[in-house]
Each structure stands twice: as structure tokens, then as C-alpha cells.
């Protein structure tokens, strides 16, 4: 079974600084997809960024980027120029073809003004 591990339950970052959220996963598959979701206090899960395992290039979306290390099964999220609105719970998730999304337990990110 695939598992997703987010070992840090909480992190804090100063506004305008950069923060990196860690995620590791376990799989025997070679083709799969990885995601980071954000869940603000409104509870709605929002897709932040997506990475396809067969692509070596790290995905980027504006201030959000990932460091995908396939051999190490690591998928970290970097948030640059942190803003107050980035404060939320962040979930790392894994999916292989024809299967469901499997989530980590999440990390609570706070942003200090």
C-alpha cells in the first residue's frame, strides 16, 4: 500500500520569507502523480501544485515550487515570499493511475506578520 508521510505537524514562517514543507512517500510504482493541497480555515481543499513522476523538471506555480526527488521518494513544497494568506494546513498527496488520492496527515503553516 502506498503511504504518504509528513513528519512535521507545524511550521512557522516570517512574512516575505521562504519556507519548505517536507513530504516523503512510499511506492513500488514508476508512474504516478504527486500533489500539494492547501486547506485554509474555510475548509475547502485547494490544489496548489501537481507533479508527474515521469517528468524530471520540478513543477512551479508562481510563488510555489516543488523539489521532486524520485529516487529518494521525496516531494517538498517551497513557498517563496510568504504571505499572510498562505497560512493554512497543507497536505501532500499521492496518486497512481486508476486509483484514489492518498493524503499525508498534513502540516499547519502559520505566517508571522
Amino acid at each position: 500500500a502506498q503511504t504518504v508521510t509528513q513528519s512535521q505537524p507545524e511550521m512557522s514562517v516570517q512574512e516575505a520569507e521562504t519556507v519548505t514543507l517536507s513530504c516523503t512517500y512510499d511506492t513500488s510504482e514508476s508512474d504516478y502523480y504527486l500533489f500539494w493541497y492547501k486547506q485554509p480555515p474555510s475548509r475547502q481543499m485547494i490544489l496548489v501544485i501537481r507533479q508527474e513522476a515521469y517528468k524530471q523538471q520540478n513543477a512551479t506555480e508562481n510563488r510555489f515550487s516543488v523539489n521532486f526527488q524520485k529516487a529518494a521518494k521525496s516531494f517538498s513544497l517551497k513557498i517563496s515570499d510568504s504571505q499572510l494568506g498562505d497560512a493554512a494546513m497543507y497536505f501532500c498527496a499521492y496518486k497512481k493511475a486508476n486509483s484514489k488520492l492518498t493524503f499525508g496527515k498534513g502540516i499547519t503553516l502559520s505566517v508571522r506578520p
Binding site: Y33, R43, Q44, M45, A97, N98, K100, F103
Partner: protein, 114 residues
């Protein structure tokens, strides 16, 4: 375009009762997924429906059941409610490409069992 809608927003039930939660996917999405988010436990997969059929089921007892209607909306039923069923229930949908581009989530139903 309307997002994934869930109803009700909040639901309070007594232990032993039944709860029915509803979900309408994004237009064009054929798959619906249900997750339970209990405090401190992350998102636990419950059920996956596609084209009216149950495709996969998480490690939950049979009193958790559901269905998908011809218009792709879905219902989650929880029978014989227990206190530990109190949680946020999230519904998500994906397009016919199988969710490889991610799921779109609703805002959830907060179920409280007293």
C-alpha cells in the same frame, strides 16, 4: 462554473441515528470521492464512485455506504451513528481522465454526533 457543492453544511445527529450527506460534482465530472477528516487524522478515503458504480472502498465498516445517481451526484449514508463518526466529510470530483490532474473538493459537511 459551479464548484463541487455539498449539503448540508452542518449536521447534528444523535448516536444510533442515520445521516445522509449529499454532493454534486462539477459539470462534466463523472467520478465522486468521499473522504473523512477527523481531528488529527488527516483525510481518510471512504468511497469512490464512477459512472454510477462503486470503484473502491476505504477501510470503513459497512454502515458507511453510498451511491451515485445518473446525474453523477452522490449520497453518503452513515447508519447507526457512533460518537467517533463526528468529523468533516469532504466530497471531491474529477473528470473522466481519472483524476490524474487532481480532484476538486467541496467545502464539506461537518457531522457532529452527540
Amino acid at each position: 462554473e459551479a464548484g463541487v457543492t455539498q449539503s448540508p453544511t452542518h449536521l447534528i445527529k444523535t448516536r444510533g441515528q442515520q445521516a445522509t450527506l449529499r454532493c454534486s460534482p462539477i459539470s462534466g465530472h463523472t467520478s465522486v470521492y468521499w473522504y473523512q477528516q477527523a481531528l488529527g487524522l488527516g483525510l481518510q478515503f471512504l468511497l469512490w464512485y464512477d459512472e454510477g458504480e462503486e470503484r473502491n472502498r476505504g477501510n470503513f465498516p459497512p454502515r458507511f455506504s453510498g451511491r451515485q445517481f445518473p446525474n453523477y451526484s452522490s449520497e453518503l449514508n452513515v447508519n447507526a451513528l457512533e460518537l467517533e463518526d463526528s468529523a468533516l466529510y469532504l466530497c471531491a470530483s474529477s473528470d473522466p481522465r481519472g483524476g490524474n490532474y487532481g480532484y476538486t473538493f467541496g467545502s464539506g459537511t461537518r457531522l457532529t454526533v452527540v
